[in-house]
């Protein structure tokens, strides 16, 4: 292990106290490691093998398929459940079948895929992985904004098209430097987007449930818009970076889109349902706004004949906000850290409690 990996291992080991006194993984016998339920290795919702190895340093693992195959053997052993790319699904019937489950460690920061009050009622803790996903998510937001503004996709398609004989003169994009970015949702990710945008001398407006401190605002040159409409009217790029809550389903609908500039681009990195897709399609068809760049849709992926997929000036990535090797590794490490803490009765560093 290199020194960084050692450091990370030590952080995890703090929360690992196996039934034997000796804490070093190489000295702990396999038998002492607690059991964890994971989705599968490989496949659509599966883990890469290297990531599963991180889990296996501290847990013995049961795949969901194995559990279904022999529930009597596996179910009572399971003390931790890892959710990766929303799998396995934390449905009541599954959770009720795991009598010794102490914790659900979910990868990612969103928790809208879990019924928190119900899980709490079973005496099971829930953890997520905040912090480690923020930079990667902010990066995809900037990648979408820049790729859309500068027509990277269209440029690439022309460059590789067998019929291209000349460099096109008329493929014009929008100037990013000095333009106005309106960030809706200035949490950890929204703020990192603001930090990155400042490097491009963008004028930054933001709308949030609560206003940030004057110091925070000054560091990134952000101006608070108490009124969302104000932000929508003034922005060249509208960036949606909110958590999904019942309050912001359909936050961006017909009305909001009609307030935006006809030259503006909508970028969504939160959750698909925050944007009314029908309204977005109409707005793009009518030229109410210029374009959209989305890492999230509803559903994911969209049906192949969905109108969004045939409109120009639309860029859609398949929810890859945190799909980087380094970030995936950090997420799994945090999941392991949290799960070990719960299994050992220690405070769970990233516990998510239901809101009362």
């Amino acid at each position: 292990m290199d020194s960084q990996e050692e450091e990370e291992e030590n952080a995890i080991m703090k929360n690992a106290s196996y039934s034997l006194e000796i804490p070093r993984p190489e000295e702990v016998t396999e038998m002492a490691k607690p059991w964890a339920l994971i989705s599968e290795v490989g496949g659509e919702h599966g883990y890469l093998e290297e990531l599963v190895d991180l889990v296996k340093r501290h847990f013995r693992t049961v795949c969901y398929r194995e559990l279904l195959h022999d529930p009597q053997l596996h179910a009572p052993k399971i003390e931790a459940m890892f959710i990766w790319k929303f799998s396995p699904v934390a449905e009541p019937s599954l959770l009720r079948s795991l009598p010794n489950l102490k914790v659900i460690a979910s990868g990612g920061v969103g928790v809208d895929h879990m019924n928190l009050p119900f899980i709490a009622s079973l005496g099971v803790k829930v953890s997520n992985t905040p912090g480690v996903v923020s930079a990667a998510t902010a990066d995809i937001a900037m990648a979408l904004l820049l790729s859309s503004a500068r027509k990277i996709l269209e440029g690439y398609q022309i460059a590789v098209d067998p019929r291209t004989t000349e460099i096109p003169h008329s493929l014009m994009g929008f100037e990013v430097t000095g333009s106005t970015l309106g960030i809706i949702g200035m949490g950890e990710i929204g703020y990192k987007i603001a930090q990155r945008s400042k490097g491009f001398e963008m004028k930054i407006l933001y709308h949030n449930r609560t206003r940030r401190s004057a110091e925070d605002e000054m560091m990134v040159g952000a101006s608070y818009c108490e009124n969302l409409d104000d932000l929508l009217r003034r922005s060249d790029f509208v960036m949606v970076a909110v958590n999904l809550t019942p309050h912001n389903v359909g936050l961006i609908g017909h009305r909001e889109l009609s307030l935006m500039k006809s030259t503006a681009t909508l970028v969504n990195i939160s959750r698909g349902v925050v944007v009314d897709h029908d309204a977005l399609v109409k707005a793009l068809q009518r030229g109410t706004i210029h374009g959209a760049a989305l890492d999230v849709t509803h559903p994911e992926p969209l049906q192949r004949d969905h109108p969004l997929l045939s409109l120009p000036n639309v860029l859609i990535t398949p929810h890859i906000g945190i799909n980087t090797y380094q970030t995936a590794r950090k997420m799994v490490q945090k999941m392991v850290e949290n799960a070990l803490a719960a299994v050992n009765g220690l405070p769970v560093p990233n516990e998510v409690k239901p809101k009362n």
């Binding site: 490989g42 496949g43 659509e44 599966g46 890469l48 930079a135 990667a136 902010a138 990066d139 995809i140 900037m142 990648a143 979408l144 820049l146 790729s147 503004a149 500068r150 027509k151 990277i152 996709l153 440029g155 690439y156 460059a159 590789v160 067998p162 291209t164 004989t165 460099i167 096109p168 003169h169 008329s170 493929l171 014009m172 994009g173 929008f174 100037e175 990013v176 430097t177 000095g178 930090q195 990155r196 945008s197 400042k198 490097g199 491009f200 001398e201 992926p301 969209l302 192949r304 997929l309 860029l315 859609i316 990535t317 398949p318 890859i320 799909n323 980087t324 090797y325 380094q326 995936a328």
Partner: protein, 326 residues
């Protein structure tokens, strides 16, 4: 009074119906535009031409052309690169050469960042998957991407544009190394957190992203060749926004095919466009763009304004603000 005549190719600058129309209007405010094919048969028209406005290398400024335009005072190039112009030859006819520096810097730095992010985060593949995925097709076949934040950027060529790239990359918490003919001041380095690498090889060994932002000259032709590509990490990406000839393209294809580097993202190639069967157009992990570094309405407008300003100054007998001397 008749407006002075300039030789310019309207098709390249703003054919009717294209979005360049507003730009050619600005030129026609001050000049009478003469198309290249009109002067062939007319020595009288040739003697009226006082300036040539060059866009995407058109019209080509050859010895023959220079000989045919006795009253030519200035050649004004749209763009900052003048590697396609024989400046000593042009000067020998008593003709000045001007370019459009500074106004291209932001747009080019922005595109360099866009290319790096699109490549690292597999944006084009992702969009393709969204549109073309089969029923039940596995997203997992998309390999995991590479983080930009926190990784190491090596900037080869820290001129105005390279420095603007550094400023943008610093906001992504990137570790920044740079190699340049001259070292920047300590204040400039500190402002973007950049470390000078006197040896290009040191930068190449350490960088996750190698960004080439030099002018094309005899010294920088094939600056990135077989040796340099071998020095790069196998996980590294080459990004080129300078000129195609700065990179040995054959060596690049070889390095990509043998996985000696991971990816390439190129706004410039040699030639432009590439032949349709060129391997760079079909290699995975390669983005090629059709030389769009300055392709925004705002920047293009500023370039045209600079061209007009320089031409007017030269014709008035003044020193134009952006004369290029050799």
């Amino acid at each position: 009074m008749e407006k002075p005549c300039v030789l310019a190719s309207r098709e390249h600058m703003g054919s009717p119906g294209s979005m360049f129309t507003s730009f050619s209007a600005h030129i026609e405010e001050h000049f009478t535009v003469v198309e290249p094919d009109r002067i062939r048969a007319s020595p009288e028209l040739c003697s009226k031409i006082r300036a040539v406005m060059l866009w995407d290398g058109t019209p080509p400024v050859t010895r023959t052309l220079l000989q045919s335009l006795p009253n030519l005072k200035v050649v004004v190039n749209g763009g900052v690169g003048v590697d396609h112009l024989d400046i000593p030859l042009i000067n020998s006819f008593g003709v000045r050469v001007c370019n459009t520096p500074h106004v291209v810097d932001n747009a080019t730095a922005d595109l360099a960042m866009a290319l790096m992010l699109a490549s690292a985060r597999r944006v084009i593949e992702g969009d393709h998957f969204s549109r073309c995925h089969g029923d039940g097709e596995v997203l997992d076949h998309l390999p995991l991407a590479t983080d930009v934040s926190g990784s190491t950027l090596g900037i080869v060529g820290m001129g105005r544009i390279g420095y603007k790239v550094a400023k943008r990359a610093a906001a992504f918490d990137m570790k920044i190394l740079y190699h340049n003919r001259n070292r920047r001041s300590v204040e400039e380095e500190q402002a973007v957190g950049a470390t000078f690498c006197p040896l290009l090889a040191d930068l190449l060994h350490a960088a996750d992203f190698v960004m080439v932002v030099v002018n094309l000259s005899k010294e920088t032709t094939h600056l990135i060749g077989r040796e340099q590509l071998s020095a790069m990490k196998p996980t590294a990406t080459l990004v080129n926004v300078s000129r195609g000839m700065v990179v040995d393209q054959e060596a690049l294809v070889d390095a990509l095919q043998k996985k000696r580097i991971k990816a390439a993202a190129l706004d410039v190639t040699y030639p432009e466009p590439l032949p349709r069967d060129h391997p760079l157009l079909s290699l995975p992990n390669v983005i090629v763009l059709p030389h769009m570094g300055t392709h925004t309405l705002e920047t293009t407008g500023h370039m045209v304004q600079k061209m007009v300003t320089n031409a007017l100054a030269a014709l008035a007998g003044d020193t134009p603000p952006d004369e290029v001397k050799r």
